[in-house]
Symmetry: C2
Subunit: 216 residues, 2 copies
């Protein structure tokens, strides 16, 4: 699916939100939606929504709006949610277990094959049928099973080390929860979830209610 004009990251970051609302609509049995209605739901302007979607093709119909199911499927395809991803989690602490436990990711096509930890007390335990294995076995496990995504839920101090193992094993996507910026080759994608930064932003907004430009 080649496109001439590259899409900006700000647009891409909105797509999952559209996708979520479309899923909700579909569950409610609604099969037709206008950009104006989507605007009311999401808080983005109707024109922005139309422009965002038009980056990827004309999914709408003048005078009609968008077909919910079709648009959801199209966005799913754009986001790559029509595929199955194999993932592993490095770090079987609370956060790693929380992710392993959450059914939502599996439903979206992200299957956690195994957790890994160095703590002998955790090794062998199963989280909802997902076994915790020795971190020493991780590299060979990834290679043998063709894992796509590596999740990092270890402490900051060993995050880079884990990232290096992932890269060595051929993983091309890393979901990083450690509060550190890890270094990887250009062809490996890192998506960070920096909870600290989110919490600090909340703190700022609470303390400076009128000193920033609000945009819902």
């Amino acid at each position: 699916m080649e496109r001439d004009n590259k899409v900006s990251i700000t647009v891409i970051r909105r797509l999952p939100k559209y996708y979520r609302y479309l899923s909700d609509l579909l569950n409610k049995g609604i099969n037709r939606i206008s950009s104006q209605e989507l605007s009311n739901m999401t808080g983005f302007t109707a024109s922005q929504i139309r422009q965002d979607l038009n980056n990827f093709g004309g999914f709408g119909q003048q005078g009609y709006g968008y077909n919910v199911e079709e648009l959801k499927n199209q966005l799913g395809k754009i986001l790559g949610l029509d595929k199955i991803y194999k993932a592993v989690i490095a770090g079987a602490g609370n956060l790693g277990q929380a992710i392993a436990n959450y059914r939502g990711f599996q439903d979206a096509g992200f299957e956690v094959l195994s957790l890994f930890d160095k703590n002998p007390k955790l090794i062998g335990i199963k989280i909802r049928d997902i076994e915790i294995r020795d971190i020493e076995e991780m590299e060979s496990f990834i290679k043998e099973n063709g894992v796509d995504i590596g999740i990092i839920t270890v402490p900051k101090s060993s995050a880079q080390e884990i990232a290096d193992i992932y890269v060595r094993s051929g993983i091309k996507g890393i979901w990083n929860f450690a509060p550190a910026d890890i270094k990887v080759p250009d062809d490996v994608i890192v998506e960070n979830v920096h909870l600290n930064e989110s919490l600090f932003a909340l703190s700022y907004f609470m303390n400076n209610k009128n000193d920033y430009i609000r945009r819902d």
Copy 2:
């Protein structure tokens, strides 16, 4: 600390990252840093860093750079990290426990006073001295203890219900992990952590390596 010109959210979202790097530098005993060096570390341009910081005052010195400790303290004050916040967590599942367990938040001044859940099997258990209480007691607990921040780690279906309790109890800041957009009055700040959206974005980037404008 009144300022004429409001600051954009994109700037504010970068501040916690600067703060993190400055903390790292301070821990390494480095007490002087230039915008160029910060640029090399963070990936933002030096010019952007200077402009971001200048929104809040001239913390640097021409010909010298920035004093790490002073800049860190100033950013901390701007972010509101010079205060102590009392927080509670609604939802004592894996994610709630993960947050309660993470020392980093406490070190930054965010103290979790209690977890709440409706599951009788969890009530009474302690996570690192933090007790899990019956969700029925949450409202009175918040009022009695003057809680500042409410964290939501319950399933999507009860997220709004919890938010309503928080609002009724007088909480002014909500950290929401449920994959839903909750509705609150204007004076209540909601900071969302939508893990689904982050994961979907990762999926997009993995599938469309050259179709978006990369900006580290």
